[in-house]
């Protein structure tokens, strides 16, 4: 039982970071109606930024958030502005050619990073990377605990932005009815850029927070694109609350699966849940949470 609770705690902590990554994708999904298949790759770029800051300048990964997030925000805005929005102006046979573009962007990012840093595995080992503390009989990994706390804070920040500010409300309005949003004076082009930028910044936060407990190589992005995709579907396309629940469910499933069934199959459990949800709850967890 103790073991179970221990694993549950670990699952929830990692799930909080997954939720952050999933939220970014969900936001983009909600406004642009596209799956951002470059999501994990954006996260990977942020991880390399954090790595460089740590390795060459000695900046702590948590402070690197202040650089990685704005950097990825700008990169996201640029991708939306120069690569995705121009595609909207063309009538094509495949209406979803924006999705194909995100695949291309992802490949370019991965290969650019591979060109600069080579394919070796890298990691950021801080003094607290393996520090733990105990509450009762449960041990808490310090970097995971801090990462979870920051993830919760960033998520809360995103919700305040979306619910309380005019700009955030404009983002939601554009997601719900683009034509009406334009009539209200909302510049839909700019909102898509803002949204993609925010989504990229959220992915960046996830990557940076993950770095002290994870490892890094140029292809790390694709597995996180997949995870983000699973979370988005789990949560119900475009549902922000669903994405949080989806992220935590995925975190718990992976941890419990790895402990009780097989470590090698860790990544498979996410896919199993994915298939089960698609079969029994095609609308995702949104069917339960209603938001």
């Amino acid at each position: 039982m103790e073991m179970f609770i221990q694993m549950l705690v670990a699952g929830i902590l990692i799930g909080g970071i997954y939720a952050l990554i999933g939220l970014g994708m969900t936001l983009i999904m909600g406004v642009m109606r596209i799956i951002n298949l470059a999501h994990g790759q954006l996260m990977m770029v942020a991880m390399y930024i954090t790595y460089v800051l740590y390795f060459y300048l000695g900046i702590d990964p948590y402070f690197a958030l202040l650089v990685a997030m704005p950097a990825l925000f700008l990169l996201g805005v640029a991708i939306q502005k120069y690569f995705l929005n121009p595609l909207l102006k063309i009538d094509s046979i495949i209406p979803q050619n924006q999705i194909l573009m995100t695949v291309g962007v992802g490949i370019v990012l991965t290969e650019t990073i591979r060109f600069i840093f080579r394919s070796d595995y890298k990691s950021v080992k801080t003094s607290y990377s393996s520090a733990t503390f105990m509450i009762g009989n449960i041990s808490w990994n310090v970097p995971m605990f801090v990462a979870f706390g920051l993830a919760v804070a960033l998520t809360a920040g995103l919700f305040i932005f979306l619910l309380k500010t005019d700009a955030g409300k404009s983002v939601r309005a554009t997601a719900q009815n683009k034509d009406a949003a334009m009539i209200m004076g909302i510049n839909a082009d700019w909102i898509t850029q803002l949204t993609y930028g925010l989504g990229a910044a959220m992915a960046a936060a996830g990557g940076t927070l993950l770095l002290p407990i994870y490892y890094l190589f140029p292809d790390v992005g694709s597995q996180f694109t997949l995870k983000a995709f699973i979370i988005t579907v789990l949560g119900g396309m475009g549902s922000t609350v669903g994405a949080i629940v989806g992220g935590i469910v995925l975190g718990i499933a992976e941890t419990l699966g790895a402990t009780y069934i097989s470590m090698d199959l860790k990544d498979a459990f996410g896919m199993v849940i994915f298939v089960v949800v698609l079969v029994f709850m095609p609308g995702g967890l949104k069917e339960l949470t209603k938001v």
């Binding site: 409300k169 009815n177 009539i183």
Partner: protein, 234 residues
């Protein structure tokens, strides 16, 4: 105030408007009537810059409107209450209203304007926190109009406000339109409900197959043989 001059427009290769011209004077209540597919909504959408013109011009207070991008139209003092309400269904009544006042002066006076529209539509005040998508058709139409008023427009355009409403609610909406008109706003309305709208408007245009075919005072048109035959079934 608003002048539409020889406008040709459409969607892709399909031309919908053929050489349409009309004008709306300051403080006037003008109605465009016509059957389904006559191009009424397209006119509204061209004025709002959501459908591009292929030729012609639209002037508003001596400024060319057809070269302004869609999201800037509201800043010129024009509110568009679109067909089928087009609310933000998963947002509350108050949030919908706030989104009507995103720019400049309207944003500064948001609080007062909300009080004013709540006075006009007491029903909305009762439902402040309700999600727009869960309200009845009549309430949704009221919210759509209220949201339009939030931008403090000088000209407000109604696109088929009676769509999907009971005769009783339709009357209520038209009564509100008259009330808004009496508060000094200029109104351009598009309607299929010919008899009722001709009775309350100052002037009207009859649209057929994307062309303006008749123009006159509302009450004169009600007596017009052609109108009677085509719309009133007399």
């Amino acid at each position: 105030m608003l002048r539409v001059e020889n406008v040709n427009a459409g969607y892709g290769d399909v031309q919908v408007l053929w050489d349409v011209s009309f004008h709306v004077g300051l403080n006037e209540f003008v109605v465009l009537v016509g059957a389904n597919g006559a191009g009424k909504s397209t006119i509204m959408r061209t004025i709002s810059s959501m459908v591009p013109l292929s030729s012609g011009a639209i002037w508003f207070e001596n400024q060319r409107l057809d070269q302004v991008t869609a999201h800037k139209i509201v800043e010129h003092g024009i509110a568009h209450v679109p067909e089928a309400r087009q609310l933000f269904p998963e947002m509350t009544v108050v949030e919908n209203l706030e989104l009507g006042s995103l720019k400049g002066e309207a944003k500064k006076q948001r609080k007062q304007t909300i009080e004013w529209v709540f006075e006009l539509f007491p029903r909305l005040k009762e439902r402040k926190k309700q999600l727009a998508g869960t309200m009845s058709g009549g309430e949704q139409q009221m919210l759509a109009i209220a949201r339009g008023l939030m931008s403090k427009p000088r000209l407000i355009m109604f696109d088929e406000p009676s769509l999907g409403l009971s005769p009783l609610l339709t009357q209520e909406i038209f009564r509100l339109a008259t009330r808004i008109h009496s508060e000094g706003l200029t109104i351009l309305m598009v309607e299929q409900n010919v008899k009722q709208t001709l009775a309350i408007c100052d002037r009207a245009y009859v649209l057929e197959n994307g062309r303006t075919v008749l123009e006159g005072k509302g009450k004169e048109l009600l007596e017009n043989e052609q109108v009677k035959k085509a719309f009133l079934g007399i």
